[in-house]
Amino acid sequence: MKPRLQLFAFEDTPALIQKVSEILSELTEVPWQVDSQQHVTLYECCEHAFRLGARSIVIQRRVFDPDFLAEFNAYYSRLFAHSSRDCARLHFFKQKPVALSDPLRFLDTEALPVGYCGFITLRPVGRTPVAATFLVPGEGGGNIRCLDEFPVHLGGIKLRVVGTPFMQQDNAVGACAQASIWMALRTMRKREGDRAFDPAQISGEATRFSTVTRILPNREGLTDGQMLHAVRGTGYSPHLIWLSTAPSDEDKKREELRLAKHKISIYLDSEIPVLLALYSTSGHAVVAIGYTFTNTPTNAVTNVNDSRSITGVAVPIAYTTSWIQELIIHNDNSGPYLRLPDCTNPAKRGYALEQADIAIPLLPTDVFLTGEEAMQVGLGAWDEVLIDLTATLANHDKIAFAERFALRLLLLDRRHARSWGRDNAPATDLASEMRLADLPRRVWALEIHLKDEVGKHATEAARSMIGFILIDPTGDVHPNSVLVTYLNLPMVTDEQHGAMVVARPAKSFQIPPLGLLPPFRAIHGHAAPFGA
């Protein structure tokens, strides 16, 4: 019997792939040679680990992986042919071991927690071996907005991975739709009451009320309707966002694309993963988890602007979405942390945002005001602010004034609003109210940024915010949906003080000048894990 823990060191990807091929062959009892054509996802996971700087693996054998055990119970255990229930885990470390013979010594004395890159679970299914996989995203690959911290126990050592869970479909219990839902659900697990659904349970929820073909094996995937059933059955609101009407007109297509990115980014900024249903030659599902952020909004497709009528003058409204270049997705048939370009490149195969028909964010069920609706409440309030701030200005100056701002909407946990107040407005009524005010568990926060400062978030944790409007997400349509409004007026007018208006109890506060403020949740870099 092979040892439960074994060490392996490698200098390049081919050596790593060769070892992974051996382990997969051992697991499945069939010889496999992993390559970039036949095992795209596994190959990309290994490449990703190598790019992270991993140079050694602790191989963990005879792992009872709970998600694969569920797949095994639902399907593989019923096969007449022998099928193993054992998985193997490959734990990646940046450190190279002094000696390969003693994995415990390596874990105790050489492997540093900071050098842990996460793990790949290999299931004993030769063609689709990548089961529950937790790899850190690394730097330079975009801003991952949806992630969490996951504890890992290995040989008596406790390690941690901060990343977004990834899984490849097993193509029997589930297809890409189930894999994408699993990834999104597992990311939200701690944040939303510790609900964990394995692929078999997701398939069960998806097909409970609507089936068009057999459930097992489920190689045909799910319809969008079944995906909505699964999302609802696992405890989230089945909120569907239409993204495309498949227009033939190029201008209309560009308009739909920029709106799609704008709608999706509201949820990504809220650290909510978004399921994207794509269609090219056939249907596919991926999960959006982040984006790349540039310093200048140069691409016309991503230049999201709106215009509002302020006392009869059409003034422009910009959103921070304009600085988002590409979405980052987990694609179960290609790999983790991949870029999703806006448009397909005719010279290359691949997916693009323009292929997305619909988006399904994992919206908590107690949020009755969707992001799209909350944006309209926020814009209504912002109009009311602009009217008075520009009352004495000529029409062209009203436009110039409104052009100074960029808006960002996100669903914010109350505790994050409170800690933001404590950290960024000490000894002011702003801090006191943010920490003590009666607020629902979550609020929609419309952040108001200085447009000229937004690009700085591409390279650093910048300060660009000069105010915000907090909106009640349980308010649906109610005159008191706006809970708190704060504006650091000295940054944008000749006023000496800023001001805050609180709805419950109805009060207003004069706030001393505070300078530029950081956003509630950083734009630069990866999001902080739930517990942080």
Binding site: A175, C176, A177, S180, V212, N218, R219, E220, G221, L222, T223, D224, G225, M227, L228, W242, A277, L278, Y279, S282, G283, H284, D357, I358, T370, E373, Q376, V377, L379, G380, A381, D383, E384, V385, L386, I387, D388, A391, D429, V477, H478, P479, N480, S481, V482, T485, L489, E495, Q496, H497, A499, M500, V501, A503, P505, A506, K507, S508, F509, Q510
Partner: protein, 68 residues
């Protein structure tokens, strides 16, 4: 009498002599209604769009299978 707006309230507070003041219920209600009068038509448009999408057959998209 001029309607109370959020902007006016913010400016009055910033310029006022008091660091903190209570806003009369009537003013607050008026303020909320002003905002909702602006937001409601747009929210209705979003909801109407969702309804139309389903009525005009875009719901057939929901029968597409995602299983690549």
């Amino acid at each position: 009498m001029t309607r109370v707006t959020l902007g006016k309230l913010l400016l009055d507070t910033a310029r006022g002599a008091q660091a903190q003041r209570t806003i009369p219920t009537e003013q607050m209600r008026e303020l909320g209604q002003g905002i909702m009068q602006r937001a409601q038509p747009e929210i209705d448009k979003i909801r109407e769009g969702q309804r139309k999408a389903i009525e005009e057959g875009r719901a057939s998209i929901l029968r597409k299978r995602r299983g690549l």
